[in-house]
């Protein structure tokens, strides 16, 4: 059985350059692109208006952006390798403003790559070119480097392409250039699992909301599903015909959303182990896809990438 999604709205040319990353709060979608600004579009208003543009956020453009699930803290990494954090203003304006400085862990420029934030924004994890993972605690207006993980055997080109933090903040998962997927315990700093490899590289990893599963995807054009109780590979989703650039779990953990280099977005049912919807507004690469946190009746998601636009989809139901 397939599901129906309708294009709710498209914000054309939301950026003047490729959109590399989007992140969703309950009221807005933040987007980062090859231009220097981070844009904020309201999702609780008609026509998804631009409500804030953080200019000069990243001079050479921004490739990764994440927001905490509580919608209060964001972090971004620019092409020059600079890591910045943002928070919602205390003034009640709803605007984003600079948050704490994060020392770049002694990394040289250009090394911080992917990033993830915990649910309340207190834990920030980044991957690096060398494969190392840095975990910071952000609190009381300062940052502290809490952990540094190194993949067990440092092999060539273990570039950390993707990262996620489990909702409870206990675990960090990383996907690497060489196809490796690691899961670390944030408290002990130990590797919990080294999961059987994918065709390299792994461009996206994501914990299920309950933290029981991990999805990983990339140039294999497949999504691999792992059970985290025993670290077993439990399923493979095939159907994409291009590199998978981004994946995201729905709030309930029932569905996975994926976006690929050929512009196609797919929704997968975990129960049915099948693709239930395929959409494409563009033949240009999708670089980031995200479910919007559920606020109303219908599920919604947003896609962005090389067509420089934000496309919002809404689930079509009989009662809508």
């Amino acid at each position: 059985m397939s599901k129906q999604y309708l294009t709710a709205h498209t914000v054309d040319n939301a950026h003047i350059a490729n959109i590399f990353a989007i992140a969703a709060t309950k009221t807005a979608v933040l987007s980062a692109s090859g231009s220097s600004c981070i844009n904020v579009h309201a999702t609780n208003k008609e026509a998804y208006p631009l409500v804030q543009s953080i200019s000069n956020a990243h001079k050479l453009g921004c490739h990764h952006l994440a927001v905490s699930r509580d919608g209060k803290v964001a972090a971004s990494i620019g092409f020059a390798g600079e890591l910045k954090t943002w928070k919602v203003s205390d003034t009640g304006s709803g605007d984003w403003e600079p948050y704490v400085d994060v020392a770049n862990g002694g990394e040289t420029n250009g090394e911080a790559w992917a990033l993830a934030l915990s649910e309340d924004g207190s834990v920030l994890a980044t991957t690096t070119h060398s494969g190392r993972v840095n975990v910071w605690l952000l609190r009381d207006g300062s940052s502290q480097l809490a952990q540094q993980f190194e993949p067990g055997s440092v092999v060539t080109s273990a570039f950390g392409m993707s990262i996620d933090i489990s909702h409870d903040g206990k675990y960090t998962a990383t996907g690497h250039e060489n196809g490796a997927v690691y899961i670390y315990n944030n408290e002990t700093g130990r590797i919990v699992y080294q999961l059987p490899g994918l065709a390299k590289p792994v461009r996206a990893v994501a914990f299920s909301p309950a933290g029981t599963k991990l999805a990983a995807a990339g140039d294999s054009m497949t999504i691999e599903l792992y059970d985290l109780q025993f670290g077993e590979h439990v399923a493979q989703f095939t159907g994409h015909a291009a590199w998978i650039m981004s994946i995201d779990w729905s709030d309930t953990g029932e569905y996975l959303l994926s976006g690929a280099y050929d512009g196609k977005a797919k929704v997968w049912s975990i129960d049915k182990q099948a693709c239930v919807a395929t959409h494409s507004e563009t033949e240009q690469a999708l670089l980031s896809v995200k479910w919007l946190p559920k606020t109303g009746m219908n599920e919604m998601f947003c896609t962005a990438g090389a067509n420089k636009s934000l496309t919002f989809y809404r689930e079509a139901t009989g009662t809508a």
Binding site: A199, S220, F237, D262, A277
Partner: protein, 434 residues
Amino acid sequence: MDHRRSSTTSSFDASVSRHGRASSQTLLSEDSQALFEGASGENAQSPNDLGQGRGSIIDRIEDIVESMVDSLSENQPLTLPLRSRRSGNEYTVSFPSTTANGVKKFTSLLQILFLCHEALVSGTIITKRNIYYQNPELFGSQDYVNKLVDDVAFTLGVGRNELNIVAASKGLVVGQPFGTEHGDEVVVIPPAEAVVDLDLRPIEWILIIEKEATFRSLVSLRYHEVSKSGRGILMTAKGYPDLASRQFIHRIHSTSPLIPIYGLVDFDPDGVSILRTYKHGSQGMRHEERITVPGLLWLGVKNSDLLELQMRLRPAAPSAPSNGGGESQATLTSSQSSNARSSDTLARSLPNSTRRHEAGWKLLALSCRDRAKAIRLLSTLSDQHHQDADEMELASELQLMLMLNMKFEIQAVDRAENMAYWLDERLSRISAWD
């Protein structure tokens, strides 16, 4: 003298043969390129440590000139030191001189030192032919220039290449205006001054190719004669272009501005940088205006080609996915799909019909050096006050390159027919937009 190349540690680089960038001349100019990208030692592999030899030669030339300025202020004769290659003894060439030959020698030497200095400071390569054409009336003959250049190198105790002077252009060109009656003869790029004698009327397009191997493959197919886009000129400067190649293509463009000029470079930071060198010269080199081709069109390889490659590489999917269907299946894994990064591996597993039109690409992860270089280039582009559409495209492709962490090399060695097919298709697509 190329420390950087030998210190490139990535195992990828080590395992990759770099067609067309292997000659020492190429390396020289590649280093030069890095020098004027404003690389001022921001990473350990920065080419600055290479600059020492060059820097000391620059210093010595400047010392010579300074001592002449001192002589001028003291109302003394001007002298240039010169070491005889036969005896090894140093003597001086003075101005004023009692003989016309002496004056000529002094002026010629000064001019050569000036051109060397300029080439060294800007990090460009000049040919002996370039020097001669700077002032043919003064030098009188090419031979005279050759001898003096070698004397200057000997006097400074360095090889001629270290003065950034090469014997001739390293570039190659083929096409009807250059060769025999069928235009099949590959020739060294002639001096720009010779362009006036060329009959460019039958030429519909010009293709500048980064790699010599690709150039040779296309020559062997006689692509310049048999292209569906008509008769053309193929040219390569074997990597970063030398001054002579750039002057040449600039002259062709100013002679026949209506002939479109295309660039075919790798999808990697060097490819983008080579393209920029042709289009805009080197950063901060205003006097290079007459050796650029701003209208050069980037034919490829770009990220859009990457998508087409993926389309061909996809696992044997029975049909194209359609909207909303449940055609995609989840299956328990028994075998992993093959490594998508190695196009060769996958291509072999594909049926012949699928890979027929594959032009011969090779996908590789970026090395640390690649990433650093891409970031430097992005930074250079963002510092420009007026980014035109072309520059924005360059920045966009560089960002995608970094995002994907992939480079994409042209390997036409054994798939030349496919390359020709790809070029036919690309050239017709571009001209359709005009």
